[in-house]
């Protein structure tokens, strides 16, 4: 679809539901997947709350968009960097997050984890390599 492949990172720093930012930025990720760029997502600060499992919006009558994260693997969006410090500051561990996986076509379709737990310093390095950073 495009001549150049850029490294795109979507920066997620907001909790879900209180504002629409998390949901509408996920919509950008889904549309962007069709453009065959080198895409990754970073979850830091309150953004880590987007991935917490067991979200149930029936009592607030809002759309529960958390299952959409599970579909990202099918869109070839397979690099979800979650900042370790942000989880710890919020009393969370990897166990509190939805398991998100993708099938690796380069490895006989083996199921692999999309969530990569990384330190702040590591995300800073990964951000540094990006061409474009989308913030919402």
């Amino acid at each position: 679809m495009s001549e150049t492949i850029k490294k795109f990172m979507y920066l997620n720093r907001r909790a879900p539901y209180g504002t629409i930012y998390a949901w509408e930025s996920l919509e950008v990720v889904l549309i962007g997947a069709a453009f065959d760029q080198d895409v990754s997502l970073a979850f830091l600060d309150d953004g880590v709350y987007q991935l917490v499992k067991g979200q149930d919006t029936s009592g607030v009558d809002m759309k529960n968009f958390s299952p959409t994260y599970q579909a990202l693997g099918d869109y070839d969006v397979t690099k979800l960097y979650v900042e370790k410090e942000s989880l710890e500051e919020r009393g969370l561990t990897l166990e509190d997050l939805m398991p998100l996986t993708y099938e690796d076509e380069d490895d006989d379709w083996a199921e692999k984890d999309s969530i990569r737990l990384v330190s702040r310093a590591e995300i800073a390095d990964i951000m540094d390599e990006q061409d474009v950073l989308f913030s919402f």
Binding site: R13, D45, M127, E129, L133, F136
Partner: protein, 101 residues
């Protein structure tokens, strides 16, 4: 690659400036504008953290300082006061812009 980080919220209301400080690498630039200009004032609770950021250059948008009645001599040493055209130049000179919205 060098990055221009932009921050637009008061550090006394939101954590975006602190988050930015955790990520800004040596050689990068941080521009404080809109309500983030309150973070550029000397003697505040955030001033030491800014001063401690090694190798990071700090800038503050003069028009936003002026709008809020913050005199230029209140700005902490080492933070350069710039205008919109310098903001544009910084976006050009760095490889990308990271908005801590």
């Amino acid at each position: 690659m060098s990055t221009l980080h932009t921050v637009n919220k008061s550090p006394f209301e939101k954590s975006s400036l602190e988050s930015c400080l955790g990520y800004a690498k040596a050689g990068s630039a941080v521009l404080m504008y809109e309500d983030a200009v309150y973070g550029a004032i000397k003697g505040t609770a955030i001033a030491d953290k800014i001063a401690a950021a090694d190798g990071v250059k700090f800038f503050v948008l003069g028009a936003d300082l002026k709008a809020r009645g913050v005199a230029e001599d209140k700005v902490a040493a080492g933070i350069e006061i710039v205008d919109y055209s310098a903001f544009v130049n910084m976006a050009v000179e760095n490889d990308k812009v990271q908005a801590w919205v």
